[in-house]
């Protein structure tokens, strides 16, 4: 039963598992010493759990010690040694050792907590234990039925104490599964968290051009659905592992019962898996399409939220939008149905094949082979049990696997598409020296807009000086905003150089000099990156000057509200920009939707004040009434500077 080869295999597996466990014990101990793990007893509940774990281990010890008596029909250790099978004793010693080592590891990691711990090893080990427990249950049931079928007295089954191993199996299965599931809750959420943070970091470090070229909705899908899909898969993975382990142990058991039957069954199972695999490749494309519709769906949701006003007042637009969003929902539904249908068909085919095999075994084996009826009964019982596992743990997991594969690919391609900016750095610029200059030397930049039309800016040769106010003017599409983005480092020049004080700088370094309010600016709820505590008086004063002191206040670096008119929001953005206190300021048509009063404040008070503080001020504007307040005026046309005028005031 346990041949030398099998024992050697068990010994090797035990050695590997023990070594891995010891490795993790050492790691955990090191973490405790280094205070990365700390004791978390859990009070009475923790004590109760510890005592219960000791009881559990005592029970395991009892079961192991009584293996000869219970599993070998009342044999003693002595008689087992003589009659055999050989190596049972050694196997039990191996198991005792492995179980003890794992218990130590389990206790160590359970009572010494580590934040964001990812106990993969424990989860996988316990999943395997759960699978083994599951198998023990079916073996014991089989053995019990075998005893009853032998026509023995009804109390024999109770006397055999088989129920102890039945309880042992249930305990192993349920306790391990319970711990695994609990661990998985934190593991799963950690996976989602980490994947999200990873993607967010990627986005934050990515060049602006890459992000601005991403399809709308793809970020939402990657951050929300794809990460959730991958995170939730861990649960399926565990039931998969448990199922596979149960199947393996069942196969070993079947092989002991009848090798030819096992081989026959194995062949059919492989055929079923091959058919399944073929169907999987067919269904894969549906899941890919399905994932594409997810992007569209998120884009639609974005439109729904952002454009609700427009949809609200315009019934035709609303109906059109509804048709559009319905179309994407229908496509999403249909591709999902098509993918799942593929699997359903194959699952049913697999089930028919599986049941067919059981039938074939029942009807043909007694004729073909000299097989004992009790063996056949045991065989069939195990096959029926395995059928449930195959259906629930394997067939059901494969579609999920496919979705995970699609999501995984999407996340990776998304991550690749937004590969980090080479110039990225987290540090801020040192306090700028006075009288710095930003010089564009032969700068050229070209891009394609959404309609595929190419547009080129440059070559631009110009020097922006600190302590100077420069107005940029020009018609729509003249390249003003592109120049602004080149200036603030959002766009990387295709040709030419950008020099700060004569030194070549990269886009991130250039951007770090600026505080900007773009025409499509975004106002955050918090004052990120601003030491606001030292500027509370300034904040109060400017809120008052900007006329929004009665509308909004700042508490703990956070605006009390952002539900303001567009003019008020822009004034608030101006305040934020001012507080950022950078060497250079860029305002893209800031004053366009402001009242005359605030326009005047902007041009007559704020800009000169910034200039007085030695800042470089660049404003894109059409307010020719205030052109006199600039030191220089640049006119853009067709992507080029067509004139550069020194103001009369200079």
């Amino acid at each position: 039963m346990i041949s030398d080869g099998m024992f050697l295999a068990i010994l090797c597996i035990s050695a590997v598992v023990s070594l891995i466990t010891i490795f993790y014990i050492v790691i955990s101990t090191k973490e405790i010493v280094c205070r990365q793990r700390y004791f978390k007893g859990g009070g009475i509940k923790g004590l109760f759990n510890f005592v219960m774990s000791l009881v559990f281990m005592g029970f395991m010890g009892y079961c192991l010690y009584n293996i000869p008596e219970i599993l070998f029909f009342g044999l003693t250790w002595n008689s087992l040694e003589k009659v055999g099978p050989d190596n049972v004793e050694k196997v039990i010693i191996c198991l005792s050792f492995v179980i003890s080592i794992m218990y130590i590891y389990f206790i160590l990691t359970s009572f010494f907590y580590k934040p964001n711990d990812k106990p993969y090893f424990m989860v996988i080990s316990l999943s395997i234990i759960s699978g083994i427990g599951n198998s023990i249950v079916v073996f014991i049931i089989n053995r019990g039925l075998g005893i009853l079928a032998g026509g023995l007295e009804k109390w024999t089954l109770i006397e055999s104490k088989l129920y102890i191993f039945f309880i042992c199996g249930i305990l192993l299965f349920t306790v391990a599964a319970m711990i695994v599931r609990k661990k998985l809750i934190s593991v799963t959420n950690n996976i989602i968290y980490e994947k999200r943070i990873q993607i967010i970091d990627k986005i934050l470090k990515a060049p602006y051009v890459k992000i601005s070229s991403l399809e709308d909705g793809s970020i939402y899908a990657a951050l929300n659905n794809d990460t959730e899909t991958i995170g939730n898969f861990v649960g399926h993975l565990v039931s998969g592992i448990t199922g596979v382990i149960t199947l393996i142990t069942c196969f070993v058991y079947l092989a002991i019962l009848d090798k030819r039957g096992t081989l026959f069954f194995l062949i059919v199972l492989i055929v079923t898996i091959v058919i399944f695999q073929l169907a999987v490749s067919g269904a894969q494309k549906f899941f890919e399409q399905n994932r594409n519709y997810q992007n569209t769906f998120f884009k639609n949701i974005n439109d729904l939220v952002e454009g609700f006003k427009e949809l609200y007042i315009n019934a035709r637009k609303r109906m059109g939008f509804r048709r559009d969003i319905e179309d994407s929902c229908v496509s999403y539904r249909d591709t999902r149905i098509a993918g799942d249908y593929k699997f359903t068909n194959v699952t049913i085919l697999g089930e028919i094949l599986y049941t067919g095999v059981i039938g074939a075994i029942v009807f043909t084996f007694p004729i073909l082979f000299d097989i004992q009826i009790s063996t056949l009964q045991n065989f069939i019982l195990v096959l029926l049990y395995m059928g449930g596992i195959i259906k629930e743990s394997l067939f059901a997991v494969i579609p999920t696997c496919m979705r995970v594969v699609v999501s995984w690919k999407r996340i990776n391609s998304f991550a690749n598409s937004i590969s980090a900016d080479e110039d990225y750095r987290d540090s801020e610029i040192e306090n700028a020296e006075e009288n710095l200059t930003i010089e564009f030397r032969g700068v050229k930049f070209a891009y394609k807009n959404e309609n595929g039309e190419s547009f080129e800016v440059g070559p631009i040769d110009y020097t922006f000086k600190f302590g100077e106010i420069v107005f940029i003017m020009g018609g729509n599409g003249s390249g003003k905003s592109t120049l602004a983005k080149l200036l603030t480092g959002l766009y990387l020049p295709d040709e030419g150089q950008v020099l700060v004080n004569g030194k070549r700088v990269n886009s991130r370094e250039l951007g770090a000099y600026f505080s900007s309010i773009y025409s499509d600016y975004h106002l955050f709820e918090k004052l990120y990156g601003i030491e606001y505590k030292d500027k509370l008086k300034d904040i109060e004063r400017y809120l008052n000057i900007l006329g929004i002191d009665s509308k909004v206040e700042i508490k703990d670096g956070e605006f009390s509200t952002l539900k303001l008119s567009s003019g008020q929001r822009k004034r608030l953005a101006l305040l934020v920009s001012y507080l950022e206190d950078r060497p250079a300021y860029l305002f893209d048509e800031w004053a366009s939707d402001q009242d005359p009063e605030f326009r005047k404040f902007f041009y007559k008070t704020l800009l000169p004040e910034l200039k007085a503080r030695g800042k470089a001020v660049i404003a894109i504007t059409h307010d020719d009434k205030y052109f006199d307040d600039a030191d220089k005026i640049i006119k853009m046309d067709m992507g080029k500077i067509v004139s550069s005028i020194i103001s009369v005031n200079v």
Binding site: M1, I2, S3, L54, M57, G58, G61, L64, Y65, G74, T76, W77, N78, S79, L80, E81, K82, V83, G84, P85, D86, N87, E89, I92, I93, S96, F97, I99, S100, Y103, I104, I107, G151, L152, E153, K154, W155, T156, E159, S160, K259, D370, Q372, I373, S374, T375
Partner: protein, 432 residues
């Protein structure tokens, strides 16, 4: 704490296997001489002589024998009772008596009286209590019908004769694998029992108090031994006979091997379990495959038939060795139930025997046969995993030459559970 528990578990295992190897044996009288009964303690076995020619009835001989047993083995009742208890759950214990009752009715009256006579001397009376250290009447019948109702032996048999034998005559080796009990119960009562009656004498290599034949021969130079051969058929004891007791009858009352085989093969005699009986006479050895299930493969559906060196065998089983016969615990005759090819503990031993017998130019001597029987690398293996004939469960090995009635026996040591790596045979004189 856990390390301590794990350590304790390991220590317990070691204790079981190493520290409790020595057995304390309660000493009785070194010999007993009663009317028609002589028992001599030979150190590792008891030499018993039962003389049925002195005018005593079988019941009286039985009583005398029991008294002698208690004299030389004072704890005999404890040993037998605990052995029965060890082998049967409580529920099985009660159920087994139904089987005993079924078979008891078919036992020859004389044998039944012997057993009853012995049981009357033991202290258990008619009350069956599992593990009470007393032998009741039913329990003693159960002990004598152990092979018929519980089935626990597993043996090997090798025999050469004619051209394969160095002497030209039969040399037979028989290995008895049987569970000896947690306290070495069976080794402590192992015996060579000679029974003399009006027709001649027979010798049983068995256990004191066990009146059937596990291994035995008669003074007409016929050797016989029983072997188990399970086929998974459902058990039924109704109307069945005891084959070890019938074998005794056959050895006592038949004149030659053919007649002995014929007696055991008789269709009128039905037995509860499938079994093999190996036979030898000075010139030949044969194996009776006594299959009652009749679930043979092929068209033949063979049941009870005799196998010789030349017999055709089932598909997948080969022999091809002239003047030699062997047997493990399986039916291999063509058309018989195949309980051989898929059972490793049969196929491995069969393969080993064939290897030993193949490619030999000169005949096998007694020592050669002993070597085949005992050969093992290092320590013997457990019964189910061995490929050799000598196993951890071997209780006795008998080498017999029918022509000269020369007998050598290895008995498992009485006072230890440790299995000797090199078993030693004792020469035993019989029918002197």
């Amino acid at each position: 704490m856990k390390k301590l528990l794990a350590g304790l578990l390991i220590i317990l295992l070691v204790f079981q296997t190493a520290c409790t190897q020595e057995i304390s044996v309660k000493k009785g009288s070194p010999n007993y001489k009663g009317k028609g009964v002589t028992i001599t303690d030979k150190g590792n076995y008891f030499d018993v002589a039962l003389d049925f020619t002195k005018g005593l009835s079988h019941r009286e001989i039985g009583k005398e024998f029991a008294r002698g047993i208690l004299s030389v083995v004072p704890d005999y009742e404890t040993l037998v009772d605990s052995y029965i208890a060890e082998n049967l759950f409580k529920s099985q214990y009660n159920e087994t008596f139904w089987r005993v009752d079924d078979i008891k009715a078919q036992i020859d009256r004389e044998y039944r009286e012997e057993i009853e006579g012995m049981a009357e001397v033991f202290s258990g009376g008619d009350k069956n209590v599992r593990g009470d250290n007393k032998i009741s009447k039913d329990e003693f019948f159960l002990f004598n019908l152990f092979l018929d109702v519980i089935r626990a032996t597993q043996c090997s048999f090798v025999s050469v004769y004619g051209s394969q034998s160095a002497t030209g005559k039969t040399i037979t080796g028989r290995i008895l694998d049987w569970y000896g009990g947690n306290k070495n119960q069976l080794p402590r009562i192992q015996a060579v029992i000679t029974m003399k009656n009006s027709t001649g004498s027979i010798c049983s290599i068995g256990y004191i108090g066990f009146m059937g034949i596990i291994t035995g021969f008669n003074d007409r130079k016929i050797f016989a031994a029983v072997q188990e051969s399970t086929s998974g058929a459902a058990y039924s004891s109704a109307g069945k006979r005891s084959y070890p007791l019938d074998l005794r009858h056959a050895l006592e009352n038949t004149a030659n091997m053919e007649k002995t085989i014929e007696f055991m093969q008789d269709e009128k005699k039905q037995y509860a379990v499938n079994h093999l009986i190996v036979f030898s006479d000075p010139n030949e050895s044969k194996v009776l495959e006594n299959n009652f299930s009749g679930r043979g493969s092929g068209a033949g559906r063979l049941k009870r038939a005799v196998r010789t060196a030349e017999s055709k065998l089932n598909k997948g089983v080969t022999w091809g060795i002239k003047d030699a016969v062997a047997s493990v615990n399986s039916f291999i005759l063509e058309g018989n139930t195949d309980n051989h090819t898929r059972t490793k503990y049969n196929t491995r031993r069969w393969k080993y025997i064939k290897e030993q017998f193949s490619g030999r130019e000169s005949g096998f001597s007694l020592e050669d046969i002993k070597k085949i029987m005992t050969y093992t690398k290092g320590s013997p293996r457990a019964l189910l995993d061995t490929r050799y004939l000598y196993t951890k469960a071997t209780l006795s090995m008998t080498v017999f030459q029918p022509d000269t009635l020369s007998l050598e026996v290895y008995f498992f040591p009485r006072n230890t559970l440790k299995v000797p790596d090199k078993p030693t045979f004792e020469k035993i004189s019989v029918f002197q």
